[in-house]
Protein backbone atom coordinates (compact mmCIF):
# COMPACT_ATOMS: atom_id res chain seq x y z
CA UNK A 1 0.00 0.00 0.00
CA UNK A 2 2.86 2.37 0.82
CA UNK A 3 4.01 2.11 -2.83
CA UNK A 4 0.57 2.95 -4.17
CA UNK A 5 0.91 6.75 -4.08
CA UNK A 6 4.35 6.98 -5.78
CA UNK A 7 3.22 4.48 -8.45
CA UNK A 8 -0.03 6.36 -9.05
CA UNK A 9 1.81 9.68 -9.26
CA UNK A 10 4.39 8.22 -11.64
CA UNK A 11 1.66 6.74 -13.83
CA UNK A 12 -0.10 10.10 -13.97
CA UNK A 13 3.01 12.24 -14.56
CA UNK A 14 4.77 10.09 -17.17
CA UNK A 15 2.13 10.39 -19.95
CA UNK A 16 1.82 14.10 -19.14
CA UNK A 17 5.56 14.60 -19.51
CA UNK A 18 5.56 12.67 -22.79
CA UNK A 19 2.63 14.77 -24.06
CA UNK A 20 4.35 18.02 -23.09
CA UNK A 21 7.53 16.86 -24.82
CA UNK A 22 5.63 15.94 -27.99
CA UNK A 23 3.86 19.33 -27.96
CA UNK A 24 7.20 21.04 -27.42
CA UNK A 25 8.67 19.45 -30.55
CA UNK A 26 5.71 20.31 -32.81
CA UNK A 27 6.41 23.03 -35.36
CA UNK A 28 4.68 26.40 -34.95
CA UNK A 29 1.65 26.74 -37.31
CA UNK A 30 3.50 29.07 -39.66
CA UNK A 31 6.58 26.87 -40.00
CA UNK A 32 7.09 24.46 -42.88
CA UNK A 33 9.68 21.70 -43.05
CA UNK A 34 10.95 21.66 -46.64
CA UNK A 35 13.13 18.63 -45.84
CA UNK A 36 16.82 18.37 -46.52
CA UNK A 37 18.25 19.32 -49.88
CA UNK A 38 21.41 17.92 -51.31
CA UNK A 39 23.74 20.31 -53.07
CA UNK A 40 23.97 19.68 -56.81
CA UNK A 41 27.39 18.55 -57.98
CA UNK A 42 29.32 21.74 -58.67
CA UNK A 43 26.12 23.77 -58.42
CA UNK A 44 24.93 26.40 -55.99
CA UNK A 45 23.51 25.62 -52.59
CA UNK A 46 22.56 28.32 -50.10
CA UNK A 47 20.79 27.83 -46.80
CA UNK A 48 19.99 30.66 -44.41
CA UNK A 49 18.35 30.03 -41.08
CA UNK A 50 17.75 33.13 -38.98
CA UNK A 51 16.44 31.93 -35.63
CA UNK A 52 14.53 33.89 -32.97
CA UNK A 53 17.68 34.69 -30.99
CA UNK A 54 19.33 36.26 -34.05
CA UNK A 55 16.12 38.11 -34.93
CA UNK A 56 15.90 39.61 -31.44
CA UNK A 57 19.57 40.59 -31.66
CA UNK A 58 18.96 42.30 -35.01
CA UNK A 59 15.89 44.00 -33.56
CA UNK A 60 17.93 45.42 -30.72
CA UNK A 61 20.60 46.63 -33.15
CA UNK A 62 18.16 48.69 -35.22
CA UNK A 63 15.43 49.64 -32.75
CA UNK A 64 16.77 53.16 -32.21
CA UNK A 65 17.60 53.82 -35.83
CA UNK A 66 14.52 52.25 -37.44
CA UNK A 67 11.76 51.66 -34.88
CA UNK A 68 9.16 50.79 -37.54
CA UNK A 69 11.35 48.03 -39.00
CA UNK A 70 12.16 46.80 -35.48
CA UNK A 71 8.42 46.55 -34.85
CA UNK A 72 8.06 44.22 -37.87
CA UNK A 73 11.05 42.10 -36.76
CA UNK A 74 9.58 41.72 -33.28
CA UNK A 75 6.68 39.79 -34.77
CA UNK A 76 8.96 37.18 -36.39
CA UNK A 77 10.20 33.87 -35.08
CA UNK A 78 12.17 32.38 -37.96
CA UNK A 79 13.39 33.19 -41.45
CA UNK A 80 14.47 30.19 -43.50
CA UNK A 81 15.74 30.36 -47.08
CA UNK A 82 16.99 27.57 -49.36
CA UNK A 83 18.44 28.21 -52.80
CA UNK A 84 19.41 25.19 -54.86
CA UNK A 85 21.02 25.39 -58.27
CA UNK A 86 19.08 23.48 -60.92
CA UNK A 87 20.86 21.21 -63.38
CA UNK A 88 20.02 18.15 -65.43
CA UNK A 89 20.78 15.90 -62.48
CA UNK A 90 18.31 17.38 -60.01
CA UNK A 91 15.68 19.17 -62.13
CA UNK A 92 13.02 16.47 -62.01
CA UNK A 93 13.61 15.81 -58.30
CA UNK A 94 13.20 19.50 -57.48
CA UNK A 95 10.06 19.81 -59.58
CA UNK A 96 8.55 16.84 -57.76
CA UNK A 97 9.56 18.38 -54.44
CA UNK A 98 7.91 21.69 -55.35
CA UNK A 99 4.70 19.91 -56.37
CA UNK A 100 4.71 18.01 -53.08
CA UNK A 101 5.23 21.16 -51.00
CA UNK A 102 2.41 22.98 -52.84
CA UNK A 103 -0.01 20.11 -52.29
CA UNK A 104 0.99 19.83 -48.65
CA UNK A 105 0.52 23.56 -48.05
CA UNK A 106 -2.92 23.60 -49.65
CA UNK A 107 -3.95 20.54 -47.66
CA UNK A 108 -2.88 22.26 -44.44
CA UNK A 109 -4.99 25.35 -45.09
CA UNK A 110 -2.37 27.69 -46.51
CA UNK A 111 -3.83 30.25 -48.86
CA UNK A 112 -2.11 30.88 -52.18
CA UNK A 113 -2.07 34.63 -52.68
CA UNK A 114 0.30 34.95 -55.62
CA UNK A 115 0.85 32.66 -58.58
CA UNK A 116 3.08 33.71 -61.42
CA UNK A 117 3.92 31.39 -64.29
CA UNK A 118 5.96 32.60 -67.21
CA UNK A 119 8.29 30.62 -69.44
CA UNK A 120 10.27 28.29 -67.19
CA UNK A 121 9.67 30.30 -64.02
CA UNK A 122 6.96 29.60 -61.48
CA UNK A 123 6.39 31.65 -58.34
CA UNK A 124 3.93 30.74 -55.61
CA UNK A 125 3.34 32.77 -52.43
CA UNK A 126 1.36 31.16 -49.62
CA UNK A 127 0.04 32.69 -46.42
CA UNK A 128 -1.09 31.01 -43.22
CA UNK A 129 -3.49 33.16 -41.23
CA UNK A 130 -5.42 32.83 -38.02
CA UNK A 131 -8.88 34.42 -37.85
CA UNK A 132 -8.19 36.06 -41.22
CA UNK A 133 -6.26 38.98 -39.69
CA UNK A 134 -3.18 37.52 -38.02
CA UNK A 135 -0.47 36.15 -40.30
CA UNK A 136 1.26 33.10 -38.80
CA UNK A 137 3.63 32.38 -41.64
CA UNK A 138 4.56 32.93 -45.24
CA UNK A 139 6.01 30.57 -47.81
CA UNK A 140 7.47 31.45 -51.19
CA UNK A 141 8.32 28.70 -53.64
CA UNK A 142 10.12 29.63 -56.83
CA UNK A 143 11.34 27.26 -59.48
CA UNK A 144 13.28 28.84 -62.26
CA UNK A 145 13.72 25.82 -64.51
CA UNK A 146 17.07 26.71 -65.97
CA UNK A 147 18.72 28.28 -62.94
CA UNK A 148 17.57 27.69 -59.41
CA UNK A 149 14.84 26.69 -56.99
CA UNK A 150 14.12 28.94 -54.01
CA UNK A 151 12.19 28.00 -50.88
CA UNK A 152 11.40 30.68 -48.30
CA UNK A 153 9.56 30.32 -45.01
CA UNK A 154 9.03 33.26 -42.69
CA UNK A 155 7.36 32.34 -39.41
CA UNK A 156 5.49 35.15 -37.70
CA UNK A 157 3.40 38.16 -38.57
CA UNK A 158 4.71 39.33 -41.94
CA UNK A 159 3.13 40.74 -45.08
CA UNK A 160 4.44 39.71 -48.53
CA UNK A 161 5.31 43.33 -49.34
CA UNK A 162 7.64 43.40 -46.31
CA UNK A 163 9.83 40.60 -47.68
CA UNK A 164 12.17 42.94 -49.59
CA UNK A 165 12.80 44.95 -46.44
CA UNK A 166 13.48 41.74 -44.51
CA UNK A 167 15.94 40.59 -47.20
CA UNK A 168 17.68 43.91 -47.00
CA UNK A 169 17.95 43.92 -43.21
CA UNK A 170 19.33 40.38 -43.01
CA UNK A 171 21.35 40.69 -46.23
CA UNK A 172 19.52 37.77 -47.85
CA UNK A 173 19.63 38.53 -51.57
CA UNK A 174 17.11 35.89 -52.75
CA UNK A 175 14.56 37.27 -50.28
CA UNK A 176 15.22 40.80 -51.48
CA UNK A 177 14.72 39.76 -55.12
CA UNK A 178 11.50 37.86 -54.39
CA UNK A 179 10.17 40.78 -52.33
CA UNK A 180 10.87 43.18 -55.19
CA UNK A 181 9.12 40.79 -57.62
CA UNK A 182 6.04 40.65 -55.37
CA UNK A 183 5.97 44.44 -54.96
CA UNK A 184 5.76 44.78 -58.75
Amino acid sequence: MKYFMPCALGTAILPLAVAVNVCGEALPPGQVDFGTFSSPSGGEFVEVNVTSSLISLATKLIEKEQPDVAQVLRGLQLVHVNVIGVNEGNRSELETRVQGIRKDLEAKGWERIVKVQEKAQEVGVYLKTQNKDTVQGLVVVVIDGGKEAVFVNVVGDIKPEQLAMLGEKFHIDPLKKIGQEIEK
Partner: protein, 202 residues
Protein backbone atom coordinates in the same frame (compact mmCIF):
# COMPACT_ATOMS: atom_id res chain seq x y z
CA UNK B 1 49.90 1.74 20.07
CA UNK B 2 50.32 4.12 23.01
CA UNK B 3 48.83 7.61 23.40
CA UNK B 4 50.60 10.44 21.62
CA UNK B 5 52.92 12.48 23.78
CA UNK B 6 51.80 16.15 23.59
CA UNK B 7 55.35 17.31 24.19
CA UNK B 8 56.55 15.71 20.90
CA UNK B 9 56.80 18.20 18.01
CA UNK B 10 54.07 17.81 15.35
CA UNK B 11 55.43 16.26 12.16
CA UNK B 12 53.87 17.59 8.94
CA UNK B 13 53.51 15.02 6.19
CA UNK B 14 55.12 17.51 3.75
CA UNK B 15 58.13 19.69 4.30
CA UNK B 16 58.28 23.30 3.18
CA UNK B 17 60.68 22.36 0.41
CA UNK B 18 58.18 19.79 -0.95
CA UNK B 19 55.39 22.36 -0.87
CA UNK B 20 57.48 24.93 -2.73
CA UNK B 21 58.45 22.30 -5.31
CA UNK B 22 54.78 21.30 -5.67
CA UNK B 23 53.80 24.95 -6.13
CA UNK B 24 56.46 25.45 -8.78
CA UNK B 25 55.33 22.28 -10.57
CA UNK B 26 51.66 23.35 -10.52
CA UNK B 27 52.68 26.82 -11.72
CA UNK B 28 54.74 25.27 -14.52
CA UNK B 29 51.87 23.01 -15.61
CA UNK B 30 49.44 25.96 -15.53
CA UNK B 31 51.87 28.06 -17.55
CA UNK B 32 52.29 25.25 -20.11
CA UNK B 33 48.51 24.81 -20.36
CA UNK B 34 48.08 28.58 -20.62
CA UNK B 35 50.73 29.03 -23.30
CA UNK B 36 49.64 26.00 -25.36
CA UNK B 37 46.08 27.32 -25.06
CA UNK B 38 47.12 30.10 -27.42
CA UNK B 39 47.71 27.43 -30.07
CA UNK B 40 44.61 25.32 -29.47
CA UNK B 41 41.15 26.01 -30.89
CA UNK B 42 38.07 26.09 -28.66
CA UNK B 43 35.82 23.04 -28.50
CA UNK B 44 33.47 24.50 -31.15
CA UNK B 45 36.37 25.37 -33.42
CA UNK B 46 37.78 21.87 -32.97
CA UNK B 47 34.41 20.32 -33.87
CA UNK B 48 34.23 22.34 -37.09
CA UNK B 49 37.80 21.47 -38.00
CA UNK B 50 37.28 17.74 -37.29
CA UNK B 51 33.99 17.73 -39.23
CA UNK B 52 35.74 19.06 -42.30
CA UNK B 53 38.84 16.90 -41.97
CA UNK B 54 37.01 13.65 -41.31
CA UNK B 55 34.96 13.98 -44.51
CA UNK B 56 37.98 14.26 -46.78
CA UNK B 57 40.40 11.44 -47.47
CA UNK B 58 43.79 13.12 -47.43
CA UNK B 59 46.38 14.67 -45.18
CA UNK B 60 45.94 18.13 -43.73
CA UNK B 61 48.81 20.42 -42.80
CA UNK B 62 48.32 22.88 -39.99
CA UNK B 63 49.47 26.33 -41.03
CA UNK B 64 48.50 28.16 -37.87
CA UNK B 65 46.09 27.94 -34.95
CA UNK B 66 45.74 30.89 -32.59
CA UNK B 67 43.31 31.44 -29.77
CA UNK B 68 43.06 34.36 -27.38
CA UNK B 69 40.59 33.98 -24.57
CA UNK B 70 38.93 36.15 -21.95
CA UNK B 71 42.06 36.47 -19.82
CA UNK B 72 44.25 37.80 -22.63
CA UNK B 73 41.59 40.12 -24.05
CA UNK B 74 40.85 41.27 -20.49
CA UNK B 75 44.52 42.12 -19.94
CA UNK B 76 44.69 43.93 -23.29
CA UNK B 77 41.50 45.80 -22.42
CA UNK B 78 42.84 46.80 -19.01
CA UNK B 79 46.19 47.79 -20.55
CA UNK B 80 44.50 49.85 -23.23
CA UNK B 81 42.92 52.01 -20.53
CA UNK B 82 46.41 53.19 -19.58
CA UNK B 83 46.71 54.90 -22.94
CA UNK B 84 44.73 57.70 -24.47
CA UNK B 85 42.88 56.16 -27.41
CA UNK B 86 40.28 57.42 -29.85
CA UNK B 87 36.75 56.17 -29.02
CA UNK B 88 36.58 53.79 -31.99
CA UNK B 89 39.68 51.67 -31.22
CA UNK B 90 38.72 51.75 -27.54
CA UNK B 91 35.27 50.40 -28.44
CA UNK B 92 36.95 47.65 -30.49
CA UNK B 93 39.13 46.64 -27.52
CA UNK B 94 36.14 46.78 -25.18
CA UNK B 95 34.06 44.64 -27.55
CA UNK B 96 36.38 41.68 -28.03
CA UNK B 97 36.17 38.92 -25.41
CA UNK B 98 37.83 36.13 -27.35
CA UNK B 99 38.92 35.19 -30.84
CA UNK B 100 40.46 32.25 -32.63
CA UNK B 101 41.56 31.26 -36.08
CA UNK B 102 42.92 28.05 -37.55
CA UNK B 103 44.34 27.65 -41.07
CA UNK B 104 44.87 24.22 -42.60
CA UNK B 105 45.85 23.05 -46.07
CA UNK B 106 44.91 19.80 -47.73
CA UNK B 107 47.83 18.08 -49.43
CA UNK B 108 47.80 17.47 -53.17
CA UNK B 109 46.16 14.27 -54.40
CA UNK B 110 43.38 14.25 -51.80
CA UNK B 111 39.99 12.78 -52.62
CA UNK B 112 36.75 14.55 -53.52
CA UNK B 113 35.47 16.99 -50.91
CA UNK B 114 31.82 16.30 -50.09
CA UNK B 115 30.42 19.64 -48.87
CA UNK B 116 27.07 18.13 -47.94
CA UNK B 117 28.72 15.50 -45.74
CA UNK B 118 30.80 18.18 -44.00
CA UNK B 119 27.72 20.30 -43.32
CA UNK B 120 25.72 17.31 -42.08
CA UNK B 121 28.49 16.18 -39.74
CA UNK B 122 29.19 19.69 -38.44
CA UNK B 123 25.46 20.34 -37.94
CA UNK B 124 25.06 17.16 -35.89
CA UNK B 125 28.08 17.84 -33.70
CA UNK B 126 27.32 21.53 -33.19
CA UNK B 127 23.65 20.84 -32.52
CA UNK B 128 24.66 18.51 -29.70
CA UNK B 129 26.42 21.53 -28.17
CA UNK B 130 23.31 23.67 -28.79
CA UNK B 131 24.74 25.62 -31.69
CA UNK B 132 22.73 26.11 -34.90
CA UNK B 133 23.88 26.85 -38.41
CA UNK B 134 22.62 30.23 -39.58
CA UNK B 135 24.27 30.18 -42.99
CA UNK B 136 25.47 27.43 -45.29
CA UNK B 137 26.75 28.21 -48.78
CA UNK B 138 28.26 25.70 -51.16
CA UNK B 139 29.38 26.73 -54.60
CA UNK B 140 31.80 24.79 -56.79
CA UNK B 141 34.84 24.34 -54.55
CA UNK B 142 33.79 26.79 -51.83
CA UNK B 143 31.94 26.08 -48.63
CA UNK B 144 30.96 28.56 -45.92
CA UNK B 145 29.09 27.73 -42.72
CA UNK B 146 28.30 30.11 -39.88
CA UNK B 147 27.11 28.91 -36.47
CA UNK B 148 25.58 30.71 -33.50
CA UNK B 149 24.58 29.42 -30.05
CA UNK B 150 20.91 28.45 -29.84
CA UNK B 151 20.32 30.35 -26.60
CA UNK B 152 21.88 33.17 -24.62
CA UNK B 153 22.70 35.51 -27.49
CA UNK B 154 22.47 39.17 -26.69
CA UNK B 155 24.30 42.34 -27.56
CA UNK B 156 26.31 41.90 -24.33
CA UNK B 157 27.09 38.26 -25.10
CA UNK B 158 27.71 37.54 -28.76
CA UNK B 159 29.41 34.42 -30.08
CA UNK B 160 29.87 32.88 -33.49
CA UNK B 161 31.95 30.28 -35.30
CA UNK B 162 32.76 30.13 -39.00
CA UNK B 163 34.04 27.39 -41.27
CA UNK B 164 35.37 28.30 -44.71
CA UNK B 165 36.66 25.74 -47.15
CA UNK B 166 38.08 27.16 -50.34
CA UNK B 167 39.68 24.63 -52.60
CA UNK B 168 42.28 22.95 -50.40
CA UNK B 169 42.34 25.67 -47.75
CA UNK B 170 40.34 25.27 -44.56
CA UNK B 171 39.76 28.21 -42.24
CA UNK B 172 38.05 27.86 -38.89
CA UNK B 173 37.42 31.05 -36.96
CA UNK B 174 35.42 32.15 -33.96
CA UNK B 175 34.81 35.26 -31.91
CA UNK B 176 32.95 36.29 -28.82
CA UNK B 177 32.32 39.74 -27.49
CA UNK B 178 30.15 42.42 -26.06
CA UNK B 179 28.64 44.53 -28.83
CA UNK B 180 27.42 47.28 -26.49
CA UNK B 181 30.54 49.51 -26.76
CA UNK B 182 30.36 49.33 -30.57
CA UNK B 183 26.63 50.05 -30.49
CA UNK B 184 27.22 53.02 -28.22
CA UNK B 185 29.72 54.43 -30.72
CA UNK B 186 27.32 53.80 -33.63
CA UNK B 187 24.45 55.46 -31.76
CA UNK B 188 26.63 58.43 -30.85
CA UNK B 189 27.52 58.95 -34.53
CA UNK B 190 23.88 58.55 -35.47
CA UNK B 191 22.73 61.10 -32.88
CA UNK B 192 25.36 63.52 -34.08
CA UNK B 193 24.25 63.03 -37.70
CA UNK B 194 20.58 63.53 -36.75
CA UNK B 195 21.41 66.60 -34.69
CA UNK B 196 23.33 68.08 -37.63
CA UNK B 197 20.39 67.43 -39.93
CA UNK B 198 17.95 69.11 -37.53
CA UNK B 199 20.35 72.00 -37.10
CA UNK B 200 20.49 72.39 -40.88
CA UNK B 201 16.70 72.49 -41.05
CA UNK B 202 16.44 75.43 -38.67
Amino acid sequence: MGPTNPSEPTVFPFRVRDMVLGGVLVGFVLAVVGVTGYFRLSSEGTILRESAMSCVSGTWDKKIALHVGMLTTGLVRAGSHLFRLAPEPRAAFDTLRGAEVGLYKLQEGAGWVDHQAILARADRAMSARRWDRAVGVSRENELVAVYFPRRGLSTERMKCCVLVLQGRDLIVAGASGNLEPLLAIATKHLDLKDATQHFALR
